[in-house]
């Protein structure tokens, strides 16, 4: 029990960081945000899964993948395929654009109709079953990551080259998904997802439940991440990042270890993608391609590439910043976002987590003295944003 406490929760400081995140996710956000913003928060959090995966494989393992969108997308598309089939089955019963409903073949996704596909492609058959879909959400991206990882790491493709190749893979996926529009919905993606096992995912209550589900799974992923990082494997990862040859000559199969952590990151991304499809109600190749994949890396960099919890804050902050800036300054937000990326890489290479590590003690001291003085007047305490770095060491 004690070791589990140390390994998964990360000891005292880790527990505090996690607890604060939990308070924020489970208490403050649901209370402070209206339904619309809460649903957007679920969307941001589904990106955080990718960022956590990147902390494992990039921050700790030194493998920068610019293709995480690939796995995220496969997870999302698997889930979306299931939801779309269900929507297609119930299409006659749904209200909405009646003429479409009348003209659509029951049981066949609408975009297939538009593309003159008259029977369901075999590739879609597994998505008739919910359990099989959940399985595929994990298996397909993980298998893909396994194949890519084995092929690349065996051949010692690493660093920049690996990043660029994964980027190219992302591009291939986008082009193929767009061109096979009869199967995938093309550039429109898979839209208009309605119910999951008969449960309407568009209602307020469903969105709140999905939000909590997302948060729960996210915390789960953080715990798994911590478990990995606190194991010997975690230390080997760091070792590998700093000196691959030495690890190899200590008798480890570097390619296998790298493939493993890459697969873990892929599985987490896929889970995020699937939750995105549930939360937002559609999936599009635009979400899968190069640009979002770079954004995902940026979430991780802003949060602190070594810190699992930092990654969550990074994803929330950058996505929120994107939404906020683009609402407030539609013509200027590119400048602001671009500026943020430059400033972060230039001045805070360890991201928020690094900044908190650096500034935290200083602020903490000031805060204490301030609280000490202020307590006489009013008993308010300010909670500093909890971001820890270098966990699991």
């Amino acid at each position: 029990m004690h070791t589990l406490y140390n390994r998964a929760l990360g000891g005292r400081s880790g527990t505090v960081g996690l607890a604060l995140l939990c308070v924020l996710l489970f208490l403050i956000f649901p209370l402070a945000l209206d339904n619309f913003r809460l649903n957007m928060m679920s969307k941001y959090l589904s990106y955080a899964f990718v960022a956590i995966g990147l902390v494992l494989c990039w921050g700790n393992g030194g493998i920068l993948s610019l293709g995480q969108g690939l796995f995220w997308g496969f997870g999302g598309y698997c889930m979306a395929a299931f939801l779309k089939l269900e929507a297609a089955r119930n299409i006659a019963a749904e209200s909405g654009s009646d003429q479409i409903r009348a003209l659509t073949t029951v049981g066949l996704p609408d975009f297939m109709d538009w593309n003159q596909i008259t029977s369901l492609p075999y590739i879609w058959y597994p998505f008739k079953s919910f359990s099989l879909t959940i399985l595929l959400v994990f298996v397909v991206p993980t298998l893909l990551a396994y194949i890519i990882g084995t092929a690349m790491f065996r051949r010692r493709v690493g660093g920049v080259y690996f990043a660029l190749i994964t980027q190219a893979l992302c591009w291939i996926m986008e082009i193929s998904f767009v061109t096979r529009q009869g199967w995938t919905g093309g550039i429109n993606g898979i839209t208009d997802l309605r119910t999951c096992l008969g449960w309407d995912i568009r209602t307020k209550s469903a969105q709140i439940i999905l939000y909590f589900l997302t948060c729960g799974l996210l915390i789960g992923c953080i715990l798994i991440g911590r478990f990995i990082l606190s194991s010997k494997l975690g230390r080997i990862l760091v070792a590998m990042r700093d000196g691959e040859d030495r690890v190899r000559f200590s008798g480890y199969s570097v390619s296998k270890l790298k493939t493993f952590i890459f697969c873990v990151a892929a599985a987490m991304s896929a889970l995020g993608g699937a939750l995105f499809a549930l939360n937002v109600g559609f999936m599009s190749p635009k979400l899968v391609t190069i640009e979002p994949s770079i954004y995902m890396v940026i979430f991780c960099a802003v949060g602190g590439r070594n810190s699992l919890i930092g990654a969550v804050y990074g994803a929330i902050l950058v996505s929120y910043g994107k939404t906020y800036f683009s609402e407030m300054f539609p013509n200027l937000w590119y400048f602001l976002m671009g500026g943020v990326f430059i400033l972060v890489t230039r001045f805070f290479p360890d991201g928020l987590a690094g900044a908190v590590d650096y500034l935290g003690p200083m602020l903490g001291r000031k805060l204490f003295s301030w609280i000490g003085r202020a307590q006489a007047n009013f008993p308010a305490a300010v909670v500093p944003i909890p971001v820890e770095a270098n966990e699991g060491r």
Binding site: L64, L164, I172, I175, Y334, I342, T345, R346
Partner: protein, 310 residues
């Protein structure tokens, strides 16, 4: 294919020739794009995601000049293009110089961070172009002699802009070769990139070399941008279309080798062009990308890379 049977042999020959040239002009496009990056990424190891935006800057300089000429000195229209290329180079060079001083120089030993920072830079440059020139596409008015085709015989049309690109690409490669491998300055650059400390110790001003080299790469992108106004569109996001292709060409060639870049641009361009003719554009792109990835797996060091004792 009955279609092909129906056409005469002479016609097939013409198509064959034109198709061959299509590959060459694509080769020129790839080469122009990749030259600057081959220096910035290949020599300096900076992953410049904003490379495409330097291209855009060059293109807008050309457009700007062409409007100036059309509005104020229409007589100069046939001659302005070479001047536009030089201006594009100069503007992109200066911009690159500023970027190096303000941003890149802090990131030399962190290649992956350059990727993130220059991504931010590319967003800023894109939006800056959009704010200054508007989001709509713009075009440079080309001199009459650069448009149309050269038709040595009936049915055979060789695009003049394609020939121009090819010639420009060849000249640029030769210039870069002379500069990097035949001049004293090139020696300094290579020395600095290979061993910064040692180069500093023998009295090379490595900081200055960095700045100029980076700016030179950007300037080359500016030239490419100017040249691309003859074949493509000018819009704030135009450059970003090229960036992935450009990286693939450079990486596939073997990052540090000029000859590798040339060979790789040629291979990729010809195979893409031929596949496009026999398959479709989309399939050709997919096959070429997959092919490049597989070859990179077999030869991670790229086409040309000297085996070194490690």
């Amino acid at each position: 294919m009955p279609l092909i049977l129906a056409t005469s042999f002479a016609e097939l020959k013409d198509i064959f020739l034109m198709q061959g040239f299509a590959g060459f002009s694509l080769f020129a496009v790839f080469l122009l794009m990749a030259l600057g990056l081959a220096i910035i990424f290949g020599q300096m190891k900076v992953i410049n995601m904003a490379h495409g935006e330097f291209l855009t800057v060059g293109a807008y300089v050309t457009v700007f000049l062409s409007h100036m000429v059309v509005n104020h000195a229409p007589k100069l229209l046939p001659y302005y293009f070479p001047a536009a290329i030089v201006c594009a180079f100069v503007v992109a060079f200066i911009l690159g110089y500023i970027v190096e001083i303000g941003l890149v120089k802090y990131l030399y030993n962190r290649p992956l961070d350059t990727l993130l920072a220059t991504w931010g830079l590319s967003m800023i440059l894109q939006q800056a172009c959009r704010s200054l020139f508007g989001a709509r596409e713009d075009t440079a008015t080309l001199p009459e002699w650069m448009m149309g085709s050269w038709s040595p015989s009936e049915g055979l049309d060789i695009p003049i802009n394609g020939m121009f690109l090819l010639a420009l690409a060849i000249v640029m490669v030769l210039l870069v070769y002379a500069l990097m491998y035949r001049s004293r300055w090139g020696l300094k650059v290579r020395a600095t990139m290979q061993n910064r400390a040692m180069a500093g110790a023998v009295g090379i001003n490595t900081k200055r070399v960095d700045r100029v080299t980076f700016a030179l790469g950007c300037g080359l992108a500016g030239i490419a941008g100017a040249a691309f106004t003859t074949i493509g569109s000018v819009s704030p996001s135009a450059g970003s279309l090229y960036i992935v292709d450009t990286f693939i060409v450079v990486v596939f060639g073997g990052a540090a080798s000029l000859l590798g870049t040339v060979l790789s641009a040629f291979t990729i361009a010809q195979s893409q062009s031929i596949l496009e003719f026999f398959l479709t554009g989309v399939l050709a792109k997919i096959f070429v990308l997959v092919g490049v990835i597989i070859l990179l797996m077999i030869r991670p060091q790229g086409l040309i890379a000297s085996k070194v004792r490690r």
